[in-house]
Structure formats: C-alpha cells, structure tokens
C-alpha cells in the first residue's frame, strides 16, 4: 500500500496545460538513475489525467502498475499515484483533504498561476509520508478497524466475566457454608457456657 506521488494542479478548462501548483513524490524505492525519469513521468501523467478530468468529478485510471486517482473541484485538481492495494475510497478522501488544505493555505491565489510553481509545499510532503497507511487518510477505515478490535476485546471481556460469575457462585456457596458453620460454633459455645456454672 504505497503512495508514490501527490500533485496539485490547476486544471484550466481552456486549452492550456494544467499548471502544477504543488508536487510531492516518494521515489526512494527506485534506483538512483531512474528517479528523475520517474519524476518526469509523474508530472506528465498527472497533467494528462488532470486535463481529462471534468470539474467536480473523481476519476481513477490504471497505468502500468499504478492507479492514478484524480479529483477535480472547480478547477483545482488533486492527483495521487497509488499502487493497486490502496483502497479507492481512502485515496479520494485523501485527495479531498489535500484540496481543502491547499485552499485553506493558499486561498484563491492559485487561479492566477500561469506556470509550474517550483516551491515545495511542506504539507504535501508530510501528507505523503503520513498517508502511506490508508487508515490514516480514511476515517471510516480507521473507525472500522478500531471497532473490530474493540469487538474482539469485548468478546474476551465477556468470557472473563462469565468465568468471574462462576467463581462468584462458588464463593457464595462457600460463604454460606461458612456462616452456617460459624452459627453452629456460636451455639455450641453458648451452650457450654450457660449450662453448668456450678461444677
């Protein structure tokens, strides 16, 4: 489950190329000489997919061994390169978050961008590392996982509570026997005491 790259582009509906606004990629698992070409490839495919994505639409494209997910919201498009195992839903919720974050931090300034911006956006790099685990991106997945764990824990709890119940039952029997025995003891003692004071 790996994210290889995350891109934010401005997908202009006119005839121009989509403009890259932010780019973060993790090419560490490629050989040193392939890295630059992989980056180029990422940039190019990202532009292609973004330009083909109509506004307010989500898309997933299979390209070699990557799935490219794209989400276009009113001209601002987020593209993610993930492998096949990454759940589609988490991918899209991740893209949602990225777009929200971008809009919060950059406002509307991106609309005027005409060329690829080269400044890295630290949030994107952080997001790339953080969201390698799909549960982080998709709250639903995280919740489902935690609920399942909780259910298992609760099953174990109920088993131990049942065992506790059995032990309590045996305890109650023993304590009632004990109280009976102590009552007999008391009666005997009283009898020996009160009976023969003389002699």
């Amino acid at each position: 489950m790996k994210i290889t790259a995350l891109l934010v582009l401005k997908a202009a509906p006119e005839a121009t190329d989509p403009v890259i606004l932010a780019n973060a990629s993790d090419v560490s698992h490629f050989g040193y000489f392939q890295r630059s070409s992989v980056k180029e490839f990422v940039v190019f495919v990202g532009r292609t997919v973004a330009s083909r994505t109509p506004p307010s639409q989500r898309q997933s494209v299979q390209h070699e061994e990557y799935k490219v997910h794209a989400y276009n919201r009113n001209g601002l498009c987020a593209v993610g390169f993930m492998d096949d195992h990454y759940p589609v839903r988490s991918a899209f919720s991740l893209l949602n978050q990225v777009i929200d974050e971008y809009q919060k931090s950059f406002g509307e300034t991106w609309r005027s961008a005409k060329e690829d911006s080269s400044q890295p956006w630290p949030y994107l790099a952080q997001a790339l590392t953080k969201f390698q685990d799909p549960a982080e991106a998709d709250k639903l997945l995280k919740i489902q996982r935690e609920l399942d764990e909780t259910k298992i824990i609760l099953h174990k709890t109920i088993d131990s509570v049942l065992a506790r119940g059995e032990k309590l039952d045996s305890l109650v029997e023993k304590s009632s026997d004990l109280s009976m025995a102590s009552q007999m003891f008391y009666k005997q003692a009283k009898k020996t005491n009160s009976c023969c004071t003389i002699l």
Partner: protein, 343 residues
C-alpha cells in the same frame, strides 16, 4: 400358573415373551404402542415394562448415536484447531479450513436439533406411562451430559474461529510489511473494462495539447498515437474511456462510502448489544457479591460472639473463686457432720 409347571414353563414363557417382543418391534409406533400391546401380551402389567424397555432402548440408542456424533465432531474440531494454529504466511490452507468450518457448523446444528428431539421424546415418554424414578433421572442425566458435551464442543469451535481470525490478521499485516503480493481486497474496475471499449469516439470538448491540427475525430486518434512516444497507448485508450466511465465511478465511490457507513453502523449496533449484555451480567454478579458480603459479615458476628462466650467460659474455668467456695462448703459440711455425730 407359572409355579405349577416348574422350569419348563419358564422356558415356554420365554419363547412366548420373545414372540411378543418381535411382534411389538414390528408394530412399534410411539403413540399407538400402548393400545397395540394389549391384544398381544399376556397381561397389561407385563406390557408396560416391555414397551418401556423398548422405548428406553430406543432412547439409549439415539443417545449413543448422538454421543458418537459429538465425539466425531470434536475430533474434526481438533483437526481444525491444528490447521488454524499451523497456518504460516505462505502455506495457507484457507479452503480446507473453510470447508471444515462449514462441515463442523452443519454437524453442530444437526446435533443440536437431534438433542432437542431426544429431549422431546423423553418428555413424551415421561408423560405417557409410569416410569420409575430411576429411569427418569437416568434419562435426564444422559440428556444433560450430552448437552454439556455439545456446549463444550461449541465453545472450542468459537475459540478456534477467534484464533483463526487473529492469525489471518497477523498474516495480513506481515504480508503488507514484507511482500508486494496483491492482497485480495483490491478490485480494479478499469482493468476489467479495458478490453470492452476498444475505440470509443472521443467526446472531449478540448482537443489534446499534442494533437496537431486535424479537427476530425477519427484522425485525432492517429496523431495522438503517433505523437507521444513517451506515454503508453493504454493511457490514451483509458483516458477516452474515462468520459464514459465517469458517472459509474461517482456512483461506485458513493456506494462504497455508503456501504462502509452501513458496516460501521451495524458494528456499532452489535457493540451496543454486547455492552448491554455485559452490563446485565455485571449487575447480576454485583448482587451475588453483595450476598457474599452479607454472609461474611454474619460469619464474623457469629465467630465474635462465640469467641466472647469461650473467653467467658475460660475465665469462669480458670478462676479459683468458685473452687474456694466449694471447698469451704465441703469443709463446713464435714464440720457439721462431725459436730452432729460427735456432739
């Protein structure tokens, strides 16, 4: 009549008895057994023990069948437990485990119904005729024993299933960490749909940036193909398909979200159930704990009272006062007797 003929009469009677048993066995039907016995048997009293014995033996037979089935099921269960424990990352006998699980589940439910039938049969026996108390207790004990064994088997089954799910989870985690094998959960609708749409007419509003010139749709494909050497032709095909797949993708996305939400909701419901049960059990046990407390307090009070009594007793025994008084009285008595007799 029997005593008059001596031993031979007994033997004759035995043959008759066997004949009656044969006829009974042939015509046996639980509801109609009682009225059928009367014309065949020698006396009504002797029929009861015989049919009772037949009923009892049938009960015993069924109980033994059920016991055997339970034993076989528990053997299969132990095999399943071994399989579940043994499964390593690479050699996963999932299919076998699944089959075995289904088989065991079926058997357990079948045994359950059989046991309930047995119990119903026994109850109907008890209502129909007068059976001795020992027989009743015996059949009750047998049924309880079988039920206990079935419960143990079911509990083991549940434990094995829990173990299996934990193992599977561990395997999934390990697999994610170490290998790149595709997990079974991902589906790629576009991979499947790739062979479907071969050359769809492009309905894009804007011509592609590298399509040089030709406005006609058919020729757009060709320059696109020839133009870009870097991009894979598959990407172009899929990009054309994207337009048509757009709406289904939205639906799929929304559907998957809705489904996930449903799952979460049902899980939460189950959790709430479990919590309520837990709370009930704990409150019941709390009551038991209070009772235990009271018992212990009673015991404490009793023992303290008894201890004080014994302390008093010890005091009274160890004090010399009464002794002195008694000796004094004995002396006075002697003096009196002395004075009486002497004076």
């Amino acid at each position: 009549m029997q005593a008059r003929h001596g031993h031979s009469s007994y033997r004759d009677r035995t043959d008759e008895f066997f004949g009656v048993v044969e006829t009974l066995r042939r015509s046996i039907a639980p509801a109609a057994a009682a009225p059928n016995n009367v014309p065949y048997g020698g006396g009504g009293r002797r029929d009861d023990p015989r049919s009772n014995a037949v009923m009892q033996s049938e009960f015993n037979r069924r109980a033994s069948v059920i016991g055997l089935a339970i034993h076989q099921t528990s053997q299969k269960l132990s095999k399943l437990a071994q399989l579940a424990k043994r499964s390593s990352v690479f050699d996963d006998p999932t299919r076998e485990i699944g089959e075995l699980t289904a088989v065991i589940k079926q058997e357990i439910s079948g045994l359950n119904t059989a046991l309930l039938d047995l119990q119903a049969v026994r109850n109907s026996h008890n209502d129909e005729r007068n059976i001795s108390r020992d027989t009743t207790t015996h059949s009750a004990t047998v049924v309880d024993d079988l039920k206990n064994r079935l419960m143990d088997t079911t509990k083991e089954f549940k434990d094995v299933l829990t173990l299996r799910t934990e193992n599977m989870k561990i395997h999934e985690n390990r697999r994610q960490r170490f290998t790149n094998n595709p997990s079974k959960e991902s589906t790629n609708p576009f991979v499947r749909q790739r062979p479907l749409a071969s050359k769809p007419a492009p309905s894009q509003p804007a011509p592609l940036p590298w399509a040089n010139g030709s406005p006609s749709s058919s020729s757009q494909l060709v320059p696109r193909r020839q133009g870009e050497a870097e991009s894979s032709p598959l990407l172009q095909q899929q990009s054309q398909q994207q337009q048509q797949q757009m709406v289904p993708l939205q639906d799929t996305y929304m559907e998957s979200r809705a489904e996930a939400l449903h799952n979460v909701e049902s899980t939460i419901h189950e959790l709430s159930n479990i919590f309520t049960q837990l709370a009930t059990m704990v409150s019941q046990q709390g009551e038991i704990a209070i009772r235990i407390d009271q018992n212990m307090e009673d015991t404490l009070a009793n023992v303290e009272g008894a201890q004080s009594q014994l302390a008093r007793y010890l005091n009274s025994i160890s004090s010399n006062r009464w002794l002195m008084i008694k000796i004094f009285f004995v002396l006075i008595a002697f003096l009196m007797v002395f004075l009486f007799f002497v004076a």
